[in-house]
Symmetry: C2
């Protein structure tokens, strides 16, 4: 995560930067069904960062690490040519042969996601354009600055025996769905009305005159999981999710063919472009 | 390694940057007696680096990786806020309980180093001030741009049973000797006339009117090893070094007391400051 490219001092507090750096790496391990164990941090530091700010950054990182069961075991500290630049390597463990991949989606599987989508992208929009509304839309700000990786769901999937496919949603579900479709050689058919969008995203989008579905489909950095699982597995997953309080939603089906991703919107079925961010943005506003 | 801080396009070719990045990490593992196994590279890339230059950088990295038995297994590629910034994490393995540390130097041990010292610092000086002499002093240029980590010596030490202490020389032996002295609670007494300095360093220093010993004691990035070992161990190490063609030199002894580092120069014995680069630079030129 590099200052100006991945975060701005204006939009994120040092503690949030540290938290998010660790959380985004935990999310990668969660997507493989693993347990993150060790982290190594290389921090390239420029002089305009005070010791106090750096301490806060580390506090946020350690807070997230504690929560995820991760120990920071090393790394390096160097001088930065400009801004704060953080590179974190995460080491995780998963039972042999159980790691989740993108290549095990099969025709007939249910496509599901955790949580709600688009909150982080809407949060970034708010922080850039309407920082005065931070308190009015706390869920969006938290989703962008303090994401919660879905470790427990990933661990359950890895142990489930229903050969699920899985990925974490760092670049929007359009993108991640394509990666599963391509790795598995299938079509993922998503139903727009099933895609979970929070009330805050809807309300903020309404205020901005924007399409909430664009953030949900194409917004980045949600750090939720998208997966596919057999129908029997889906039933078991739903039972476990109810028991454990995991928010989880079926959003479509896997079909033979492809690779492709399709979106059913009302009575229409259309191809969903893989790099939503730019291409999908041209979709007519509903 | 960050452009402008750790390398300049003027002093190092892309291939050399890749090689050195990997080599410096291999050297860290060598200093612990380990075998490097996996590497993860995060590359933050700015637009002024062409695809061809990046390919050359990776070529150099892979060449060094092949030589050291390392597999590049992952990482990340992101946009850089400025210049090329590379962060590499190395995973190595060492037999349980055999990892070399800085804390096992004991009174009576022999202090030794591999290779010659100061070549890399002299090489950097040459590349900055007299690039037209690259071909005249190939050893200095190679030491700076294409360092050779001392894996085999580290592995031998780890398996030797003579409880050696070890560190790699990334910041000059003054600094590294202090780290061993502090971690072990001992005095390292180094003999200036035993410190191995190459003819090229002497010749280039002569031309520049500089003290070769400053580079040897305080110059950075030699990526040789400094260690301590029992006297019996030293005999075995010397035998093995002769057999295997490793350049290795005894440069002093470990004494009780300290922590401190002392230098015997002619008939004088003086304290050797820990951060040689700045402090030792004031020593009167001989």
């Amino acid at each position: 995560m590099a200052e100006t490219v991945h975060f701005l001092r204006e939009t994120m507090a040092p503690e949030e930067i540290g938290w998010k750096l660790l959380a985004s790496n935990v999310s990668d391990v969660a997507a493989m069904g693993g347990q993150p164990v060790y982290a190594l941090l290389t921090a390239a530091i420029s002089p305009e960062w005070t010791e106090e700010e750096l301490r806060q950054m580390y506090d946020g990182l350690y807070r997230c690490a504690d929560k995820a069961g991760v120990t920071l075991i090393g790394g390096d500290t160097v001088r930065s040519p400009g801004g704060l630049i953080l590179s974190l390597t995460m080491v995780g463990e998963v039972e042999q042969g159980k790691a989740l991949t993108r290549s095990s989606a099969r025709s007939g599987d249910v496509v599901f996601v955790t949580g709600t989508l688009g909150d982080s992208a809407a949060g970034l929009h708010l922080l850039l354009h309407h920082p005065e509304w931070r308190k009015r839309f706390p869920r969006l700000v938290a989703a962008h600055c303090l994401p919660e990786p879905q470790l427990a769901v990933g661990r359950w999937l890895a142990g489930s025996g229903f050969s699920p496919a899985c990925d974490d949603i760092s670049d929007g579900i359009a993108q991640e769905a394509w990666e599963i479709a391509e790795a598995s050689g299938v079509i993922l058919v998503l139903e727009e009305e099933c895609i979970p969008v929070s009330d805050e995203v809807r309300e903020y989008a309404e205020l901005m005159g924007m399409d909430p579905m664009e953030w949900a489909l194409c917004g980045g950095e949600d750090y939720q999981l998208i997966g596919t699982i057999t129908q029997e597995g889906w039933k078991a997953l739903k039972r476990e999710a109810e028991r454990s309080g995991w928010p989880i939603t079926a959003i479509g089906r896997v079909k033979e063919g492809g690779p492709a991703v399709e979106l059913i919107s009302g009575s229409k079925r259309m191809p969903l472009p893989r790099n939503g961010y730019n291409h999908f943005a041209n979709r007519t506003k509903r």
